[in-house]
């Protein structure tokens, strides 16, 4: 299988993702420039963290209009996998590939620390190797991770088990402690915590690998 890691101007976790996929998990991975219009050779697209387009206007608001996002939308429509991490999650929300929006953290502070996540559903290509109700220690680093959706959307997310991970201790004011959600079709996943920063022993946790390994297993057995 092959991962494509999108590089927007201002992405800063692109190399971390690439490193984990290529050197830690030994999978084929390539960078994809934001001006590229063809992502058909990839099985899974990674939208990494960072500050795409300087977070101008709103986080992810400008990035969603990059040429590559048209291709990412088509990729998702085919049922192929997309994972958005942190700023990547914000881009997916702005692009309408996932429902809801991000608000500033309730504390107004940029929060950068390890948090504990509870896995709410393992029925997804992104969490199938985790345990339902199991805990993952993965760091967050964001100023706008306060997830918001209207009551109807929220009810829909819960009804379809689209909330894949929740914070055990809510760091940012997110509705219902939501840390990561997938779409109804379950092939697009966005989360604020950074699994690529928790994939090696020397970084204090390897729980993030569970997410990448789920993707790899899913693509391998397709």
């Amino acid at each position: 299988m092959k991962f494509g890691v999108v590089v927007f101007p201002g992405s800063n976790c692109d190399h971390d993702c690439y490193h984990v996929l290529k050197h830690v998990l030994k999978k084929d991975a390539e960078f994809v420039w934001h001006k590229d219009r063809d992502v058909s050779k990839f099985d899974c697209i990674v939208l990494p963290g960072g500050f795409s387009y300087g977070d101008y206007l709103r986080t992810g608001a400008i990035a969603r209009f990059s040429p590559v996002m048209e291709a990412v939308k088509k990729h998702a429509e085919k049922g192929k996998l997309v994972i958005g991490i942190c700023n990547g999650f914000q881009v997916l929300l702005e692009a309408g590939l996932l429902p809801g929006a991000m608000l500033r953290n309730e504390s107004l502070k940029f929060i950068c620390k390890f948090v504990t996540l509870r896995v709410e559903s393992t029925d997804s290509p992104f969490t199938k190797k985790a345990k339902k109700g199991g805990l993952l220690r993965i760091p967050v680093a964001h100023g706008e991770g306060n997830y918001f959706a209207d009551a109807g959307t929220l009810a829909e997310l819960n009804k379809n088990s689209q909330v894949l991970v929740r914070y055990v201790d809510n760091p940012n004011g997110s509705l219902e402690n939501i840390a990561g959600i997938c779409n109804k079709e379950r092939n697009v996943f966005g989360l604020m915590p950074h699994p690529e920063r928790a994939s090696e022993e020397e970084l204090g946790s390897t729980d993030g690998r569970r997410i990448f390994e789920s993707i790899i297993e899913h693509c391998g057995t397709r």
Partner: protein
């Protein structure tokens, strides 16, 4: 022709920035301030053209990019 666009968080959405400003004002002695909402002001120079058309375009710009209608409301003036 210039367009002035105002983007604000919806009433139903908590505005942490507004809350912080309100607290600051209150601690400065402006206790009469009951609520603060912080928004964005965007000015667009549209050159010359048809006003009705411009209005439609502004609306489309707001819906597609300038505001996120999941959390924000917008209004505009054209003159």
């Amino acid at each position: 022709m210039k367009a002035k666009v105002y983007v604000t968080l919806k009433r139903s959405v908590l505005d942490p920035q507004g809350k912080a400003v309100q607290h600051a004002l209150s601690s400065m002695g402006f206790g009469e301030v009951k609520d603060v909402r912080v928004g964005k002001f965007i000015e667009l120079d549209l050159g010359s053209g048809d006003k009705t058309q411009a209005e439609q375009k502004i609306k489309s710009m707001c819906e597609k990019l300038l505001a996120n209608t999941v959390i924000e409301d917008f209004k505009y003036e054209l003159n």
